[in-house]
């Protein structure tokens, strides 16, 4: 093979553009100072489920394993006993007022009584504080 043949092969070769390394498309531009950004976004935008999942897992990661101390034991026991009392007293009671009748579980009536009493006391105390401030 002569030197001319080699030149011919080079001339007839397929003209392909030079391969240059391309950076992945980023949504955020690199800072102007010239320092490349450490954060690189994913090629595909994360879906709603994955975003919700990541936020939930982020929140859950803050929760530490509860310590089963005597105080925590008593709190859980009180909650458990309260739930059992509510479930055991789920029989309906009938409340009559001026010809109107309302039927609701006894446990729910008991809870409503507590909430109503608490709300009334709170309003009463708030009223007293407001009067003193004036």
């Amino acid at each position: 093979m002569t030197d001319d043949d080699l030149d011919l092969d080079l001339d007839l070769g397929p003209e392909t553009p030079p391969v240059t390394p391309r950076a992945r498309p980023t949504t955020r531009e690199a800072p102007k100072s010239g320092v490349p950004s450490a954060k690189v976004m994913a090629e595909r935008k994360p879906g709603v489920l994955s975003r919700v999942g990541s936020s939930v897992s982020g929140q859950l990661s803050h929760i530490s394993r509860p310590n089963w101390s005597f105080r925590n034991f008593l709190i859980v026991l009180a909650v458990l006993v309260s739930l059992v009392v509510l479930a055991e007293n789920w029989a309906a009671v009938r409340i009559s007022f001026l010809g109107l009748r309302l039927e609701l579980p006894k446990a729910l009536a008991f809870l409503l009584n507590i909430i109503l009493g608490g709300a009334l006391t709170w309003f009463w105390l708030r009223r007293g504080v407001a009067a003193r401030e004036e």
């Binding site: 026991l77 059992v84 055991e88 029989a91 009671v93 009938r94």
Partner: protein
């Protein structure tokens, strides 16, 4: 024109029924005879309260009489709500009442509850309901008429747990059908007085849950103490 003799007989019959202290539920015979279906229901709640209801299906001809007869049904409760459905072929009338607490003792009726306070070492709470049901007849011939026409009262009792035993005495002409917490008696109106006994049991899940939690905590504390004790033990070098 109203029949004064019939009204007098009815009044006498009611007075007789009221004076019968041994009866808890009394159903006027006139109601049974003139209705196609009479269903008395009793739903007993775990806390000893109850819901009582009577449903009567009668011909539209008796639309005016059925409310009065139903009002005369005695079941240790003042009837509260009433509602009726007028259909083309029949007339359906209902009344109900809430009973705050069923009697715990008595010959006529008694609900015996064996709960944690009474029997702390059992897994089940047992309920035993005893009741005497009767009819206020208008005439002496009414029992024979009831037998001839095969008239009966359907009595549905729903217990707070699974029914384990249900009996009716005397059982002549009557039947008992049990399904889970519900028992349906078909009481022959010719028998006069009948005594019903129903027993049911219910798992004490709440009590067991609390016990299981206490046991788990005791085991946890014991394990922690044991581990600590093993850690502070001197070891051979």
């Amino acid at each position: 024109m109203a029949d004064p003799g019939g009204a007098w007989h009815r009044l006498l019959s009611l007075l007789q029924a009221i004076s019968q202290r041994g009866l808890w539920a009394t159903v006027p015979f006139a109601l049974l005879v003139n209705s196609s279906i009479t269903v008395l229901t009793l739903t007993i709640e775990p806390d000893g309260s109850a819901h009582r209801q009577i449903s009567v299906v009668a011909a539209p001809y008796f639309r005016d009489q059925v409310p009065g007869w139903t009002r005369d049904v005695r079941a240790d409760a003042d009837w509260d709500m009433a509602w009726a459905v007028n259909r083309e072929d029949d007339f359906v009338y209902n009344r109900d009442a809430r009973i705050a607490a069923l009697p715990e003792s008595g010959e006529a009726a008694a609900l015996t509850i064996s709960d944690v306070a009474q029997n702390p070492f059992s897994l089940y709470t047992t309920y035993r309901w005893h009741e005497v049901v009767g009819y206020s007849y208008l005439y002496d011939s009414d029992p024979a008429a009831a037998e001839a026409t095969n008239k009966s009262l359907i009595y549905e009792i729903t217990m707070p747990g699974t029914v384990t035993n249900a009996t009716v005495t005397p059982a002549t002409g009557s039947s008992t059908k049990t399904e889970g917490p519900k028992v349906v008696f078909e009481l022959a109106a010719s028998q006069g007085q009948q005594t019903i006994e129903v027993e049911a049991s219910r798992l004490r899940w709440g009590y067991l849950l609390v016990l299981a939690y206490l046991a788990a905590y005791v085991i946890y504390c014991s394990a922690c103490t044991l581990r600590h004790w093993l850690r502070i033990q001197p070891r051979k070098i």
